[in-house]
Symmetry: C2
Subunit: 336 residues, 2 copies
DNA sequence: ATGAAAGCGCTAACAA
DNA sequence: TTGTTAGCGCTTTCAT
């Protein structure tokens, strides 16, 4: 197999200079129509494709973005990435995705991608789950996803977590529940804090006291939701509703309740958050807050590209709304 | 911000030639220890990082692999990617992932990645779900994942689907079920065909006739599993067990059965395939075949890197086993 | 409208 | 062990 044709081969083939070929492939208008046709014919004949590496080299930009997540196997992250990729593509960028489970792996990724100039900018999903944000060099434009930026120079896109949690808890309260437990995520993550704040706000608006004994934490896994609620039950806490800060913990909570002989939703209502794909196939189908993940990704990509293309754009912070999806895991309090 | 230091700056700073700096950063042994130290000091002082784009340019290789999936949002695909990324990293490669929902998008991706020389090789997950395999130019080394290669030049890694399906169905048969329905995936995909073959083989080994009326298809979604089983019930087919070719369809099947007043597993046993993360949290917890996805990804990456590093390696085809996970959605037939 | 020359940051081949 | 000389394939001046 001989190596691929270069711009030089096309120049020979069509009898013009390399420069003219370059103009043609870049859509430069300063080329005579006849010349352009000749060159395009030669390109087609030779099957020439511009070498992107060489273009990047000469231009100093790669037209490539990276989207980094803690893992690809979590549905919400993957959805954000796909939304971002779609938006990037529309703007002529290629978006690659990769994941780093911990801070050192993340640092290595940033090193490879940013410091070694492989990409023009980076989208970072959940930057505050560990120390990874410390490795966010200011070398490349960066947009944070799923957390408020704690650095004035970085833009961010996230859900309006507090408002969403408030809607969720208000839903439970409006059903007549006055003792609402919350299973929150790791407090190192903004979204857990914000959802807790929304929980508190909703209770307060309803004139209900917040019982710290009903606040328990998990790590987003179903198992952790199970553990959290089991503990609550063993401690003899009274509650008729649970606001789990994600669907997986909600599912774990449901199981814990059943194991303790409580019916869901007859005895206890349970809400989740995210609306994962099979949320409606659990028993009972989960009432939850739906996040438009792809949209979050699209917005983030748009912000990043904006920053790339007009250097002096001030960093923006975008908040997106979530939507209540009522299924069968929540129901009005029994009159007693 | 001044631009980043180059190899030339390091050369000046340390009083050696660019070539010597190049040798240092590439770990070439032909450098005097003293010189090496000087250069390394200069590198540290300047904060120099080799520009990967320039390296790729000069070397003609990018040390980057791509892993392409139909979507990132399916757990099995994401797991394969993470396994592949880990293996690639160990070998000094960077693996980027991207997704393409349909053949045209896939073609564009291949164009960007392979024809424009952005990566050295490609892993393609599920190449036969549509016409995408037709866009697999022979320009770069490619390894197929999740399907037998139909092209002698391409290596592949997949599950031993037939054996796995056989184990699954044999499990049901050993429980005393003689009327076992199957909900298969799209027949364009090898794995559906192979799992059907395993189903047939298991029945035959058990001396049971295959009733074509008990063979129904879905598109892997829970909804499709629901529809398939609903139709079977409406048609009045008799069966006491269902082998769904993935967990999502199994979950749909369970729902359909319940809606028709059948208890699972008391009246009908249901098996899935994949062991998705929340499989044990459905009601009932799903009996299923567990695939070691990360391992599939690792193997695939290993094959690709092998092909890259020793050009004349013949394409290999690897088959990995799956493991039966018994939970509560299957149980022995009631004696009647 | 087109071409010539220089260079992007690095490595490879050859010398010394 | 080190340096010199050419590129890699393309774009960007600056001429013409």
């Amino acid at each position: 197999m001989t190596s691929r044709p270069t711009i030089r081969d096309v120049a020979h083939e069509s009898g013009v200079s390399r420069q003219t070929v370059s103009r043609v492939i870049n859509g430069d208008p300063r080329v005579a129509p006849a010349t352009r046709e000749h060159v395009e014919a030669a390109i087609a004949r030779l099957g020439f494709r511009p070498n992107l590496i060489a273009q990047s080299m000469a231009r100093g930009r790669t037209h490539t973005l990276a989207c980094l997540a803690p893992t690809l196997t979590v549905f919400t992250f993957a959805s954000i990435i796909e939304g971002a990729a779609a938006e990037a593509r529309q703007h002529g960028y290629f978006l690659l995705s990769s994941s780093a489970p911990d801070a050192p792996a993340f640092a290595a990724l940033v090193e490879q991608l940013v410091l070694q100039r492989r990409v023009d900018g980076v989208l970072v999903i959940n930057p505050y789950i560990d120390e990874r944000y410390q490795h966010l060099s200011a070398e490349a434009p960066i947009v944070l996803v799923g957390a408020r930026s704690r650095d004035a120079r970085l833009g961010s896109v996230s859900l309006d977590e507090q408002a969403a949690a408030r809607i969720a808890v208000t839903h439970l309260v409006s059903l007549g529940h006055t003792r609402v437990a919350v299973v929150h995520g790791p407090l190192a993550e903004d979204c857990s804090q914000d959802r807790n704040a929304g929980y508190a706000a909703a209770l307060q608006s309803a004139g209900l006291a917040l019982d710290p004994g009903l606040v328990v934490g998990g790590d987003w896994s179903a198992t952790s939701g199970h553990t959290a609620i089991s503990r609550l039950l063993q401690a003899g806490r009274e509650f008729t509703a649970v606001f789990a800060q994600n669907d997986r913990m909600a599912v774990g909570a449901v199981r814990a309740l059943r194991e303790a002989g409580r019916r869901v939703p007859d005895d206890v209502s349970v809400m989740g958050f995210d609306d994962i794909p099979l949320a409606s196939y659990f028993d009972p189908p989960l009432t939850t807050m739906r996040q438009d993940m792809p949209r979050i990704g699209r917005q983030a990509a748009r912000l990043l590209i904006q920053a790339l293309e007009s250097a002096d754009t001030p960093p923006q912070h975008i908040n997106l709304p979530a939507e209540l999806v009522v299924r069968q895991s929540t129901r009005p309090m029994e009159g007693r």
